[in-house]
Amino acid sequence: MITRKVTRKWEKLPGKNTFCCDGRVMMARQKGVFYLTLFLIIGTCSLFFAFECPYLAVHLSPAIPVFAVLLFVFVMAMLLRTSFSDPGVLPRALPEEANFIEMEIEAANGNVMAGQRPPPRIKNVQINNQIVKLKYCYTCKIFRPPRASHCSICDNCVDRFDHHCPWVGNCVGKRNYRYFYLFTLSLSLLTIYIFAFDIVHVVLRSVDSGFVNTIKETPGTYPFIWAPEPLP
């Protein structure tokens, strides 16, 4: 039986991406800040679930932790989806296409004197009766479609490039914009939700046993107490 390794396209993809799970996961090279994001989200949420939720479930309503769990699951799913998916990387031009474009450019620009800078490679296209300039990418050897841009960190041209987000460990482009947007939205909701219920929890406990005792009893509020200290 002949078993030869099948070469996947992602193994040959030029550009500084890292791949896992046989190409199902695609990320940028530097992942340190992404791990920090994961740590912060999971850390604060687990503090909330461990220390505040039992009290709130008993004294207010069990729906509070349930909704928090759902929101947390949503945030994590969106984060992982944004980080692991392809942002819309444009494949680089194959040699034949690159040569074809070079010939087109030379035909348009004519001869350049030695020592003179070649004129910037721009193609004018008309979109809905407006002239838009398409720039040429020297790395990918293509004229970038409108709203595409080259990410220098990942070394790829990305369609509808928004930005490279280090917190998420990936570029944000056409194919993962939706997940990135939902991630930021749901994370804001989660933060506001946890903060609100933290305050409710502290207030309810203070009513029962006094404010100072409450701070002593709830380890979850320690980060909030230490935070103002560095301020003068």
Binding site: R4, R8, K9, W10, R24, Q126, N128, P146
Partner: protein
């Protein structure tokens, strides 16, 4: 989740070689420079996916103008259908958001379904119309929806044998080099 494309070189099927090769084999083309024509995107109606129907002069003697224009117009119609925003795509989006996008492990989006239709159409066109004239159209999705490339089949083809992941049999095709086309 649509991940990075996973297959190796483009899988092309040539009708006259079909009997002797089966899906165990990959074809690798080494074409010379002047053998490819590229059809660019047509942006006059906005950024919707549409290709220029202008007939390239290099294909004058190779294929009839009407056949070529028909192919490109059908492709454009398919892409318009894929990108259409209507009831179904709205429902899909809402359902997906509610299920944290896990629903896409079970069902396919409308866009993916139409993309599959398009690749079947291109394959069919290659077999029926273009291969008999010694041409080959590539699926624009492989080039990031930037160009439709038409290449001439007058070249040497190097055939390498790879075992397909799904097959478990020990059948092995022979490794041959041959030149195809006219």
């Amino acid at each position: 989740m649509i991940s990075a494309p996973r297959t190796a070189t483009e899988r092309t099927k040539l009708p006259y070689c079909h009997e002797s090769f089966h899906n165990l084999q990959e074809l690798r083309h080494s074409a010379s420079l002047a053998n490819k024509v590229f059809i660019q995107r047509d942006y006059t109606d906005g950024t919707v996916c549409k290709f220029q129907t202008k007939f390239p002069s290099e294909l004058d003697s190779r294929i009839e103008r009407t056949l070529f224009e028909d192919t490109v117009k059908t492709l454009n119609n398919y892409y318009a259908e894929a990108e259409k925003i209507g009831g179904q795509s709205y429902l899909e989006g809402c359902l997906a958001c509610l299920t944290v996008y896990l629903i896409f492990l079970c069902i396919e989006t409308r866009y993916e379904k139409v993309l599959k239709k398009i690749s079947r159409y291109i394959q069919e066109q290659n077999e029926k119309v273009y291969a008999p004239r010694g041409l080959l159209i590539t699926d624009p999705i492989e080039r990031g929806m930037r160009v439709v490339s038409l290449q001439s089949l007058e070249m040497t083809i190097e055939i390498s044998v790879y075992e397909d992941r799904g097959s478990s049999g020990s059948s092995s095709g022979s490794s041959t080099t041959s030149s195809s086309g006219r």
